[in-house]
Amino acid sequence: MSSVTQNEPEKLTKKALKADHPTWCPGCGDFTVLACFFKVLEELQIPHENICTIAGIGCSSRFPYFVNSHGLHFIHGRALPLATGVSLSRPDLHVFAFGGDGDGFSIGGNHLEHCARKNPNLTYVIMDNFVYGLTKKQTSPTSPIGFQSKTDPNGAMDMPVNPMKKLVASGASFIARTHSNQVKHMTEMFSRAIKHKGFSVIEVLSECTMFYKGAFDDGNPRKGGTFEIIDEKTGDGSDEDMERHDISSETEAYALADLQYPGKFGVFYKKERASKNDLEQNLIKSGQEKSGDLDAKKLIAARFKAMR
């Protein structure tokens, strides 16, 4: 790596973005997620120092160590509220959160819901492997009924979370689903998510070769499965277009989410609405205007005067 000078921003390359070699097991789906992330960053040429990767706890949450960027490895389940703080106070940064199904749908489930509702400007990638891998094979919130784990030797009995439904119901403004074996599709989803203003979430089916081998073969054509991409409405007025998926419709997103596994892949839902960043900035603007754009010293002095 050569040194960066203040004047000429160096071109962002995959090489510059690589950090520690991932500690993931050979064949883990997360490797391709990392590769796609590098590819998208290279395409978008975001200033290197403004990339910020944040994660909770889990195999996939080791992500920040494998990206050479400013990063933070936080506690289990709380990456989103932390990333919200970073995003809201630093409009210059591109904030990315990474995690798994345990982090996102179980211990951090409440935060996912509220982050979706608040709509801060950040992108969240959930590497969903349907199992707890780091702790060596316990049932996860997305494990299908009947899945045999160390905590459910006779098969999981609790109904799994439907991530797409949960996200639509929570009010997330960009929701997509992809598969770690589909590099091109995943890259496209990442790129669209990053360009979305507000909270964008992508669920990546990412196989745990150690504890849930073959979990996503049904969605992998090379393993005899089918990878069916959502056919989005183009608005060309044709008869076929009537049948296509309207990404602005919650009802249609729900219907897609109800399809039998492995279902379809692509953008389930997208809605343009004000991000929390914008709303808070509006509040600041009107607050400062109303108070006559005073500096801190004058604001405090005025308040003290009223307390006399």
Binding site: E49, I75, H111, L283, F304, R308
Partner: protein
């Protein structure tokens, strides 16, 4: 010891008094807090010392509520053990609060609602038809609103308060409301002012001129003072979740911060609140979160992270009666151990406690200074009594208030956030790194560069490092000042809001020729060095605190002091009835020690 020190009657037939405790007892919708607040602000503007004390039921409307205001021409350090005047709005206010009235005191009651036992010769009873006279004055409103302002008028006459100043305060309070509100308030006020109490209370009382400096004093409550301390110290970002009695701090920050270009977010829970605050801190800001007892417990895991990652953070904990939901609107100091040791693992952090309302402002500034300098979480342990009580104090000097800046200076290739030989320094996101190698902040044990490592020697070295930086803070603290003689029989040791009652107890004991002194800790963890040398010159050291003596017979600070100094002279005086210490209780404690 509030004493209605009567002096000889002056020419105009009034008695000059030095100090009076007035307790207003009614229901929570009667607006008695408003009256108390007016009296407190008037005292603040009139060079009087003032302190208030209130209880609000945790029900939204209805339920008994009191507001006690103590006004004095000399130093006022506590809300007062007993009341000189009781204003009773209802029969149950009369019945429940007569015992708080001192012998010789005056019970002023609403004769429309209260039937007192006037045969009780310990007190002077004065009946005033407050409800009906107010209704009459305002013009037949079915709802008995405004009797609080009627009472204010009555008190203004009785205590010869400065009517013009008070009218100005009332006007400024109601100016934002509809003009009829102010008109009705003034009608009620004038009606109370003109009311003749008749023969029973023929004289009025007047406060001696105050000793305090009249200019530039402000009157406010502890939570507000603390909030403005945070703003003055440059806090522009924060996150919180509502819980009594912390909520008013977050409400003020939420409405005020946008004016300062900042943001305070209401989080979905306590865990998210501290996580977002850590996010703000990581992004390069000095950030705040806060809560009360149960909420602090929920924040503990993330707090441990902030200790490990060494991020600056201010956490306000407005203590209330515990455990669990406990007594949400009562005072206690039982979160000390939780604040110090609450997290998993060895996670040293800093604990500060304000001693009075004025100190809430300065402790917030001190907390921000320490958090930044030592790159550490700092917990402010304030409490329910400080949160809502109103005091008047000199307006703080804000000449050195600056706008906070974000340091994104490019870092050299040898950048180490956690050097073993010097202070922690982070490179927030957005910082360019000379060799293009970017740092990751983690809760895993890490080396000087912040890189995860489970090397056994390193974990020991880093544990030492995190501990020693807090010890460095301890050695930078100035020695504790002793209130009273530096040697004697009993040394009282206090922390937090017990400052006032302890000082009054020392004054009283000294007047009675007892050799009693006191010290007070604002920095509790780390505590300043040299406390052992102070204790050495006394026969007993009694730690006065509002928590339980626990299984081994010592309060929480007493336990720590005994652990640190192994000194059997260290004793304790504890209480947990949800009320602050009375002077008489401390004096009794000294006697029994």
């Amino acid at each position: 010891m509030s004493l209605l020190a009567k002096k000889s009657a002056s020419a105009n037939g009034s008695n000059d008094i030095k100090d009076a405790v007035i307790r207003l007892a009614g229901n929570s919708q009667d607006g008695i807090q408003t009256v108390g607040g007016f009296l407190a602000r008037l005292a603040g503007r009139s060079a009087q010392e003032v302190m208030t004390y209130m209880t609000i039921p945790s029900t939204i409307s209805g339920g008994a509520s009191i507001f006690q205001v103590r006004i004095g021409s000399g130093e006022v350090l506590s809300p007062g053990d007993e009341a000189d005047f009781l204003i009773a709005f209802y029969q149950d206010s009369y019945e429940n609060h007569l015992s708080s009235l001192k012998e010789g005191g005056v019970c002023l009651y609403d004769s429309d609602h209260v039937e007192p036992d006037t045969s009780d010769k310990r007190f002077t009873f004065v009946g005033v038809p407050m409800t009906s006279t107010t209704v009459e004055a305002i013009g037949g409103s079915a709802r008995d609103r405004g009797k609080n302002i009627f009472v204010l008028g009555l008190l203004t006459k009785l205590f010869e308060l400065e009517r013009n100043k008070l009218v100005k305060i009332i006007e400024s309070q109601f100016k934002r409301k509809h003009e009829s509100v102010l008109r009705n308030a003034m009608l009620a006020f004038d009606s109370g002012y003109a009311y003749e109490t008749g023969d029973v209370l023929s004289q009025s009382y007047a406060f001696e001129p105050g000793e305090a400096v009249e200019d530039n004093r402000i009157t406010t409550d502890g939570n507000t003072a603390l909030t403005y301390g945070l703003l003055a110290a440059g806090v522009r970002y924060g996150a919180g979740y509502p819980i009594t009695p912390w909520s008013s701090i977050m409400e003020t920050l939420r409405t005020e911060l946008p004016k300062y270009g900042g943001t305070f977010i209401q989080s979905e829970d306590e865990l998210a609140a501290i996580s977002s605050a850590i996010g703000f801190a990581y992004a390069g800001h000095i950030a705040v979160t806060g809560s009360s007892g149960p909420g602090l417990s929920l924040k503990m895991e993330a707090l441990g992270y902030a200790c490990m990652a060494e991020l600056p953070l201010v956490i306000v904990n407005v203590q209330r009666g515990g455990p669990s939901t406990g007594l949400p609107t009562s005072v206690e100091q039982s979160d000390l151990m939780q604040a110090i040791y609450g997290s998993h693992g060895d996670s040293p952090r800093v604990i500060l406690a304000p001693k009075d309302v004025e100190d809430c402002y300065y402790i917030a500034i001190e907390a921000c200074r320490i958090a930044k300098k030592y790159s550490t979480p700092v917990i402010i342990l304030t409490d329910q009594s400080l949160s809502s009580r109103i005091e008047a104090f000199p307006e703080p000097d804000i000449s050195d208030v600056k706008e906070p800046t974000l340091d994104l200076q490019m870092q050299p290739s040898e950048f180490r956030p956690y050097p073993l030989d010097s202070q922690t320094k982070h490179a927030p996101p957005g910082t360019k790194m000379a060799e293009g190698k970017y740092p990751v902040v983690t809760g895993l044990e890490h080396d000087e560069w912040g890189h995860p490592s489970s090397n056994p020697e390193l974990h020991q070295e880093m544990t030492n490092r995190r501990r020693d930086k807090i010890k460095q803070l301890a050695s930078s603290l100035s020695k504790l000042e002793i209130y009273g003689e530096s040697e004697g029989d009993v040394l009282l040791i206090g922390w937090g809001s017990t400052w006032g009652p302890i000082r009054e107890a020392v004054d009283y004991a000294k007047r009675n020729n007892q050799k009693v002194s006191s010290i007070h800790l604002r920095h509790i963890h780390p505590m300043p060095n040299g406390i052992d040398e102070i204790i050495e010159n006394f026969n007993k050291a009694i730690v006065v605190e509002m928590n339980d003596e626990g299984l081994y017979g010592y309060g929480q600070l007493a336990t720590l002091l005994r652990a640190r100094y192994s000194n059997p002279k260290i004793l304790c005086l504890t209480k947990t009835n949800g009320l602050g210490f009375k002077i008489s209780e401390i004096l009794e404690g000294i006697k029994n020690a």
